[in-house]
């Protein structure tokens, strides 16, 4: 009998043995699959968000300079532009105007932004898909904004941004500078922050240092810091991600511990009988290995496939309540599936290997003792 035939027979026996304890093993597979599903969903989701954000934000401004007052972000006067422009290596400095607008009737927060070139002009706005959804407004509709002094400013929707851009534009309201100042009350000669362009990107840290020295009440934020923010956004140490991971890991430890601490008397008796009828210790270990492998491989494949469907085809529906929080305007977007073999290997090594090992150790202990004493248990 070839080695393959031998293992086919042992695997066949392992399957019969698992089917004899059908209910227990089905429950085990369901639990194990859920565990892998949660772990894989978290890994797929966080990695996809990070990579998409990093690709998109590679084009974010080279440097942003904020003015701080008593530790908080404050409006920056336009004379700061001239001070920064005089620093060697600075190509251009632009005052950026942006802020937030709370819409009381819908209880939603929007981001008001003044683009460098706003083609629609004063009296018009371009809105993100999320804004359009919450306001039920489309192209040509008038949207009233409550200004800082209580008066109302009505602006016409000139354009609704595409659904594909929701990950960056869902809550955006693009408008002209006079309209922004009229709504927000930002005085002339002041900006929200400054966008700085430099001649040589390698000089960014040096220029940032000079800005900090010339204008001590400012805080430069570099592009690589913006990108790094999103590289570490769902760090394993961060809040709920850690809670989910730790719950999954603890559930798995309990599962593996249950297996590793010993076999049931029925399983021990089975091993004794097998040894009594002539099975060798290595055959018994192979049997237990295959039993563990059947359970863990089935759960692994099911868990990972379900997680993929959940995150990339079902728009991570189970995570939605957590991500929504208290926000009324929630971006609806589909993630680009950035998956790689490394992620799959991580899930495999975290779950399948320890479980299979945990099934073999107690079996090895039972298989090396006298069959007679095991059968008497």
């Amino acid at each position: 009998m070839s080695r393959i035939d031998k293992h086919r027979n042992i695997l066949d026996f392992a399957l019969s043995s698992l089917l004899r304890r059908k209910r227990k093993n089905i429950a085990l597979v369901i639990m194990y699959t859920s565990l892998i599903f949660i772990l894989a969903s978290v890994i797929f989701f966080t990695e996809a968000i990070k990579r998409e954000a990093c690709i998109l934000l590679e084009n974010s401004p080279e440097m942003i300079v904020q003015k701080t007052m008593a530790g908080r972000h404050d409006l920056i006067p336009d004379n700061y532009i001239r001070s920064i422009e005089s620093i060697r290596g600075v190509q251009s400095v632009r005052g950026r105007l942006w802020g937030y607008y709370y819409e009381p009737t819908r209880r939603a927060n929007y981001t008001l932004t003044v683009p460098e070139h706003f083609s629609y002009g004063t009296g018009y706005i371009a809105i993100g898909k999320g804004v359009s959804r919450t306001l039920e407004a489309g192209k040509g509709d008038l949207v009233p904004f409550r200004a800082y002094n209580g008066s109302y400013v009505s602006l016409e929707v000139a354009d609704v941004m595409t659904a594909e851009s929701e990950i960056i534009s869902s809550d955006l309201v693009l408008l002209s500078e006079p309209d922004f100042r009229e709504i927000s009350g930002a005085p002339g000669g002041f900006f929200t922050d400054l966008g700085v362009r430099v001649r040589n990107a390698k000089e960014l840290p040096v220029i940032a240092d000079k800005i900090r020295r010339v204008l001590p009440d400012t805080r430069p934020i570099l592009k690589n810091e913006i990108v790094k923010t999103y590289e570490t956004i769902f760090d394993w140490r961060g809040g709920i991600v850690m809670v989910i991971l730790m719950s999954a890991v603890f559930a798995f430890v309990i599962l593996a511990w249950d297996k590793a601490t010993g076999l049931s008397s029925e399983e021990k008796r089975e091993i004794g009988i097998l040894k009594g009828i002539g099975w060798e210790t290595s055959d018994v270990l192979w049997l237990k290995f295959w039993e563990g492998a059947v359970v863990s491989l089935t759960s692994f494949f099911l868990g990972v496939i379900l997680a993929y469907v959940h995150v990339f085809l079902a728009s991570f529906i189970l995570f939605e309540p957590v991500l929504k929080g208290w926000s009324v305007l929630y971006p609806e977007f589909r993630l680009v599936p950035f998956i790689d073999p490394f992620q799959i290997m991580t899930i495999f090594f975290l779950t399948v290997l320890p479980y299979t090992a945990a099934t073999i150790v107690p079996s090895w202990r039972a298989a090396t003792i006298d069959p007679d004493s095991v059968m008497r248990l």
Partner: protein
Amino acid sequence: MSIRKVDVFLLSISVALCLFAFIFVHASLTKKSELPALRENSKMVRTLEITDICLFTEARYTRHLSMADLHTPFQDHPMSLEHFPSGALITPPPHLRQYVQDR
């Protein structure tokens, strides 16, 4: 001839492996088809000088995470506890943490 359990199992595992391979094929095809939209979004980030992606809209320091300052979670008063769910989900930007260490 009756079908053995081992054959059924091996067949199921083969189907699962095919589905598994299909995941990678699907991911690769989707990435390719999403590439133009991704490029378009990337262009938008440049023209609108966008600094953050729109994941959460409930609090300003989670909407514009990279622009947040050290005091943003203490919105109401210095002893105020962070109270937005998204604040519990994400970590503060590394440059803010570095800033605290440097002080």
